[in-house]
């Protein structure tokens, strides 16, 4: 008989530590890959597992190896059908020596080979330069929030969840049904026995009575032992059910200035800003729709592809975008059903005189409909030092300042780096939120 061991229940993630080390090692390259993905993929698709190529740099394992293209070799191969000694075979064009199989190193198989990063790992990489507080990161990664509610009883559970009242009630009923002798009964018998035992000269009748009583007591004691006071069948536990927190539908408006002044860098930053808002909404709402509105001197609702990638020329009139948004809301997203979130990205350029109009639109119409409105103005890194926190700046910025003071749920900030994005959302991620949601 050999020694059979069943190891199937042993932990199976022995390689997980090694995998984590590997990811750490190639971290920089993975981050670049994810950043490219954020640029090229749809906002709603970022929040998922992604296939990424196995990075080459930093993960190579060099050793002394013969190079393929030098010297003289002999191969012995199976399956000769037509050759005779002295025949010459033209070599294949690119390397691969005599029929393949040789000169293929350990690492080379790994070329153009995708492996899957889990959603968590992708988000970790995405969050990296955004400098989100840890609590927020955790919140975003959590898929659905649940709350435990008590619903009824169950026969199994942890000791801490025992429902004492219900358990004792069951126990009591069972004791009555099975006629478990009570304390009083036994005490009465014992007393009588003690009285009889105390008699100096017990008569025959008394002795017989004593014997009878002792047998009764014995029977009762045995019965008591057999029928437990609290039996496992009596025990009841409180039952909890995890219920997802109430969710509803939300619509997210992405507004962006696509005039020529918005370059690659600006669009990249804007996209991260939109992705972050989307992640937040996804955590909180069951259904999210995204509306993309881009504008130059006129605004149009477009699909995501066009929004980020196609070029358009023209001036800049920001208020057209806001008007388009109002139109879409009245058409399709009545604010009593939908939670409306908006994110606007711009470099601050605007036609003269239009900024005031924007501020009025926001204050009087939009902010009454919106849950939240975030505005980021993407500026040069050099500019960020000049402007700092001052209110100087573009006309749009100054106009929006007036809204910021007057309305709740309006946030604005200037960003030059990915790490600047978070503050505009700070209020969104503050803990005591649910009360503001419309159901």
């Amino acid at each position: 008989m050999p020694n059979f061991i069943d190891r199937r229940l042993n932990p199976k993630d022995r390689s997980l530590g090694n995998r984590r080390r590997f990811l750490k090692r190639v971290h920089d390259e993975l981050k670049r890959t994810i950043r490219d993905k954020v640029k090229s993929e749809k906002i709603a698709d970022i929040d998922a597992a992604h296939g990424v190529p196995i990075p080459k740099r930093g993960a190579d394992e060099p050793s002394f190896q013969h190079s393929g293209g030098s010297g003289e070799r002999n191969y012995v191969l199976p399956g000769n059908e037509v050759f005779s000694p002295g025949d010459r075979i033209r070599k294949p064009e690119a390397g691969a020596g005599g029929g393949g199989g040789r000169g293929r190193g350990r690492g080379e198989d790994a070329d153009d080979f995708l492996f899957v990063l889990s959603r968590e790992e992708v988000l970790d990489l995405f969050f990296e330069d955004l400098e989100l507080p840890d609590m927020v990161k955790l919140n975003l990664k959590e898929t659905v929030t649940y709350k435990s509610h008590r619903v009824g009883f169950t026969t199994s559970g942890t000791p801490s969840n025992i429902n004492v009242g219900r358990t004792m009630r069951n126990s009591f009923g069972r004791r009555i049904a099975l006629r478990r002798p009570g304390e009083k009964e036994i005490a009465a018998l014992s007393e009588e026995i003690a009285a009889l035992e105390a008699a100096a000269e017990p008569s025959r009748q008394q002795r017989q009575r004593l014997k009878q009583l002792r047998e009764d007591l014995d029977l009762l004691e045995r019965r008591r032992r057999r029928i437990a006071y609290v039996d496992p069948v009596d025990v009841r536990f409180n039952r909890f059910e995890r219920q997802p927190l109430p969710n509803a539908s939300a619509v997210m408006f992405c507004l962006m200035d696509v005039s020529a002044s918005m370059g690659e860098r600006e669009k990249d930053l804007a996209k991260r800003f939109f992705v972050l808002l989307h992640l937040f909404l996804k955590r909180r709402y069951e259904r999210i729709e995204i509306v993309f509105i881009r504008h130059t001197d006129e605004a149009r609702e477009v699909d995501e592809e066009t929004f980020f990638f196609s070029k358009q020329s023209g001036g800049t009139v920001v208020s057209t975008a806001l008007e388009e948004m109002v139109r879409v809301i009245t058409d399709r997203y009545p604010s009593n059903i939908w939670n409306i979130y908006a994110a606007q990205a711009s470099d601050g350029d605007n036609a003269s005189g239009d900024s005031e109009r924007c501020a009025t639109l926001l204050r009087d119409t939009l902010m009454k409909l919106c849950q939240y409105y975030a505005y980021v103005e993407i500026i040069d890194e050099r500019e960020s030092e000049i402007f700092g926190t001052t209110d100087n700046g573009t006309s749009l910025w100054r106009a929006y300042r007036t809204v910021d003071g007057a309305v709740r749920n309006f946030q604005m900030t200037r960003i030059a780096r990915p790490s600047d994005i978070y503050p505009v959302f700070r209020k969104l991620f503050a803990r005591n939120q649910p009360d503001q949601l419309r159901r």
Binding site: P2, P62, S63, G71
Partner: protein, 513 residues
């Protein structure tokens, strides 16, 4: 033609449980030990899931292994191939240890479990216990204990010196794994846990009590004559035991910048490389032996009426897959399949022993028709490695069967030339050529430490003996030299010398990383 009663079957259907496993094991053991006369280590059979099999894959098949990112990389790679269905998992994994550990996958069907038990727990096990290479170069009794120590030791180092520092040393050591093996002299046995503990304590003590005051500075000896210098060089080489083929060993013993724990890590990597060294040299024989054993045993079980026809068909199908050899021009071709060649050779030896032709009597006068095929096979399994085994036993009949031919490939030419084929004139050449392809000495780069300047700039000199003009891949060569430099602490130079002419073909040195 009486129908066999059902009760003689070891198992029915494809479901397995531990009762059927051990019933099959007993029946297999009866045949393997009783009839075939195999000699095996005690068996330990462990059932694992496919995830655990993937885990085992990526840590080079050892049940215990220290942590390193390269295993994670392998894991990611294997995992993805498996998930995409581009590669199946092995049915079993067997470890050369005493007791011999065999992993069975829980997804296997019962007939497969029986096949795998015969293949690994008896075939491979017999080979591990008896083959001279394994007996001389590995220590089956101590390896698991050693791996346990290695894992704990490296974890402790990570705790004490930081992940990054340990990873650096391991990276460099891994780069030299192929050069970390004694090819010609036998490595010392693994010491027991207690002895290792004592040695380590001593090292730690030395570390603590070392005082710079005691350093003896070399006395400057003005001008030294050429003769004097040469004599010194000779002496130095003698002291350092140069030339040295085991680079890891040399660095572990003589590098002055390494701390004791770093030396211990080099040692661990070296011991593991040495442990796997025989496996690389006996792939064909080892698999051939195991495949032959399982094939014989399942046929015997079937003849005894202990296995159903359905199970037998399933096993024959998977056996045929395992020993399938595509031709060189087949898109599935990726070299000679060691299972196919090994199994065919074992069967061929059986044929030569029991039913030889005139040709076999010519070629194998010693064994042809001796009637003792098990004895002949066991003798071969015990005393050969792939290279010598093929040189000794590959018969013309088999060369014809595989239609082997030899192709010579000179890098300067635009064509390959067919040197010899399976005909009267070609047999010996094909056989010798195939054997040479299995000779690790001929196929791995021969790089040795030849000198070191101990008192001057401490440069380490390596020499690559170039055989048949085959050079090293330059990118990897330079990257590896950087690793050697890290372990040595001073400049390292490598000179490529042509083996035939002693002409220096190239010279290069490490670049500071």
């Amino acid at each position: 033609m009486a129908k066999e009663p059902v009760s003689t079957l070891l198992f029915e259907g494809s479901e397995w449980n531990f009762t059927t496993l051990s019933r099959a094991y007993e029946a297999i053991k009866e045949i393997a030990i009783g009839e075939m006369g195999l000699d095996v280590y005690p068996n330990q059979i462990e059932v694992i899931s496919s995830e655990q099999m993937l885990d085992a894959y990526s840590s080079v098949g050892m049940p215990l292994m220290y942590q390193h990112w390269s295993f994670g990389k392998r894991f990611v790679f294997e995992n993805e191939l498996y998930r995409k269905g581009r590669r199946g998992l092995a049915y079993e994994l067997v470890i050369n240890s005493n007791p011999c550990i065999t992993y069975l996958m829980d997804e296997n069907t019962m007939p497969m479990q029986a096949l795998v038990t015969a293949h690994a727990s008896f075939g491979h096990n017999h080979f591990f216990k008896n083959n001279y290479l394994f007996r001389q170069w590995t220590d089956a009794g101590a390896i698991l204990g050693y791996m346990d120590f290695a894992k704990k030791y490296i974890a402790k180092c990570e705790e004490r010196h930081g992940l990054a520092a340990v990873e650096e040393i391991l990276d460099s050591a891994h780069a030299l794994m192929d050069q970390g093996v004694f090819h010609y002299r036998r490595p010392p046995r693994l010491s027991s846990e207690k002895v290792r503990e004592r040695a380590r304590e001593r090292l730690e003590y030395e570390e603590q009590t070392y005082s710079d005051l005691w350093r003896t500075l070399p006395t400057a000896t003005g001008s030294v004559g050429v003769e004097e210098a040469e004599r010194e060089a000779g002496e130095r080489k003698k002291v350092l035991n140069l030339p040295e083929e085991n680079l890891l060993y040399f660095l572990e013993k003589h590098s002055i910048i390494l701390e004791p724990w770093q030396r211990e890590i080099l040692r661990i990597v070296r011991v593991i490389a040495q442990y796997f060294y025989p496996q690389g040299q006996t792939k064909v024989m080892n698999e051939g032996c195991a495949t032959y054993v399982h094939y014989t045993i399942i046929n015997r079980l079937f003849d005894q009426g202990r296995m159903s026809e359905g199970a037998m068909l399933e096993l024959l199908a998977s056996h045929a897959n395992v020993v399938f050899q595509p031709n060189f021009d087949d898109p599935r071709f990726s070299g000679i399949n060691p299972y196919a060649l090994g199994f065919a050779m074992m069967q061929d030896i059986e044929r030569i022993c029991t039913a030889p032709t005139a040709e076999d009597r010519d070629w194998f006068p010693n064994i042809a028709g001796n009637g003792d095929c098990m004895g002949t096979l066991k003798d071969a399994w015990e005393n050969h490695r792939d290279e010598s085994f093929i040189l000794q036993y590959l018969s013309p009949a088999l060369i014809r069967k595989f239609r082997l031919f030899q192709l010579s490939d000179r890098s300067a030419d635009t064509f390959c030339e067919v040197a010899s084929i399976h005909d009267e004139r070609g047999y010996s050449a094909v056989r010798a050529g195939l054997a040479r392809n299995y000779d690790p000495g001929a196929n791995r780069p021969d790089i040795q430490v030849i000198d070191v300047d101990l008192l001057g700039d401490r440069q380490l000199r390596l020499r690559h003996r170039i055989k048949n003009g085959i050079l090293l891949d330059e990118g990897r060569r330079d990257a590896t030299l950087t690793h050697i430099r890290r372990l040595w602490g001073y400049d390292v130079s490598l000179a490529g010398v042509d083996d035939a002419t002693d002409r220096v073909v190239y010279e290069c040195s490490s670049k500071v990383s």
